[in-house]
């Protein structure tokens, strides 16, 4: 969906949106395509590429904020849809940090011996939770899903995750109201909203510290990295983040946001998928990935590219 298609209700223009966000198009699911449809498709591709049989999956973790049922989880449905049988299955609500939270959990489950293979999916249909007239975040948002199979390895392929939260800023990114207020007629359908300025400061200058900590925890040097894959929040954040992190020029910075928009939990796996598909990075290289967003919640780790 182009900027021109959404600019009217926010009294904006293609130029204004490009300048402030770097976004040229955002992907929105067509009528009738659900979050689960996208999650299943991404999961099947990940399973096929991994070469395992879906019955070998011991746990399914779906990171999302847009599955339309409070219960049961989307992950249980997803497990059944992809043929993961009786795998443990649950959702993670950590917004834009959700995928990296999922990778942290998969890593821990496998290291502990609890699981052999874990399916981690970041999936969102944010277009169900946006307001066409919101100038704070809605126009950035897109839909999509990305998935990874995490499995045992004879060498570390996922570094120690550096993660945390800052609940004192719980209200900086979130919804315009609760579903109870909606039920009681006190609010319109709740949609996503943010306070852009403080979130920008946090997302760059605080999160750069977390990224540095994660890199240090991995034992790798900056020049060992092939890619930096941040949550695709806004190109201005990505550009300033990369500048502050001072990585060598050889490190490719993921910029999937230009065409996909901000897809919350899906943005990191989608951005990584694009880098691999376009041949900008090679399998076996190392990527520093960092998710950050509503909560405020964050997580970063270095992963070996699939």
């Amino acid at each position: 969906m182009t900027n021109d298609e959404i600019a009217g209700p926010i009294e904006s223009s293609d130029e204004w949106i490009r300048q402030r966000t770097g976004i040229v198009t955002r992907v929105r699911a067509p009528e009738g395509q659900s979050l689960m449809d996208m999650a299943v498709e991404a999961s099947k591709e990940a399973i096929e590429k991994s070469g395992i049989d879906p019955s070998e999956i011991d746990a399914v973790i779906l990171a999302t904020i847009s599955f339309p049922y409070a219960t049961p989880s989307g992950a249980t449905m997803l497990a059944a849809e992809v043929g993961a049988g009786d795998a443990a299955a649950y959702d993670i609500s950590a917004a834009c940090a959700g995928y990296c939270y999922g990778i942290a959990q998969a890593d821990a489950l496998i290291r502990s011996g609890n699981s052999k293979y874990v399916l981690v999916v970041g999936g969102e249909k944010l277009s169900d939770f946006i307001s066409p007239t919101d100038r704070s975040i809605s126009f950035l948002l897109g839909d999509g899903a990305g998935a990874a199979i995490v499995g045992p390895s004879d060498h570390p392929g996922i570094s120690k995750t550096v993660w945390g939260s800052d609940g004192a800023n719980w209200d900086k990114v979130g919804m315009t109201g609760s579903i109870l207020d909606f039920r009681d007629g006190k609010t319109e359908w709740p949609t996503l909203v943010q306070e852009g300025q403080p979130v920008f400061r946090w997302a760059v200058w605080e999160m750069v510290k977390v990224a540095k900590e994660a890199l240090e925890a991995s034992g790798l040097a900056p020049e060992d990295l092939s890619a930096l894959v941040t949550h695709q929040a806004n190109m201005r954040i990505i550009d300033e983040f990369a500048k502050q992190l001072e990585l060598p020029e050889s490190v490719v910075v993921a910029k999937d946001i230009v065409e996909t928009g901000n897809t919350s939990a899906a943005s990191i796996p989608l951005a990584m998928h694009r880098l691999l598909a376009e041949g900008k990075v090679k399998s076996g290289g190392y990527a520093l990935e960092i998710g950050f967003g509503a909560g405020l919640a964050y997580a970063a780790q270095v992963v070996e590219l699939p």
Binding site: R20, Q197, R201
Partner: protein
């Protein structure tokens, strides 16, 4: 030693120029960051963070929205220098 208003203005103008390319001499006390200088909220925050570093002051998020004109920023910085 605390910097004078003039020194802070000159330093701030340099930061505005670095971030936006706006000529330093266009950054005058009575100018509004948004309406006159056309600085967007993200550039404004970058300037704020760089000003914190440069002048050794803390400019809290809730204060940033009160910095409408260049004079607001210069006054805040001069009166909060460590």
């Amino acid at each position: 030693m605390a910097l004078s208003e003039q020194d802070v203005l000159a330093g701030l103008a340099e930061l505005v120029n670095d971030e936006t390319g706006i000529a330093a001499d266009a950054v005058q006390m009575e100018k509004s960051f948004t309406d006159d200088l056309d600085i967007d909220s993200i550039s404004m925050m970058t300037i704020v963070v760089n000003a914190e570093d440069k002048f050794g002051v803390k400019i809290p998020d809730e204060e940033v929205k009160n910095l409408i004109t260049v004079a607001d920023a210069v006054n805040f910085i001069t009166s909060n220098q460590g």
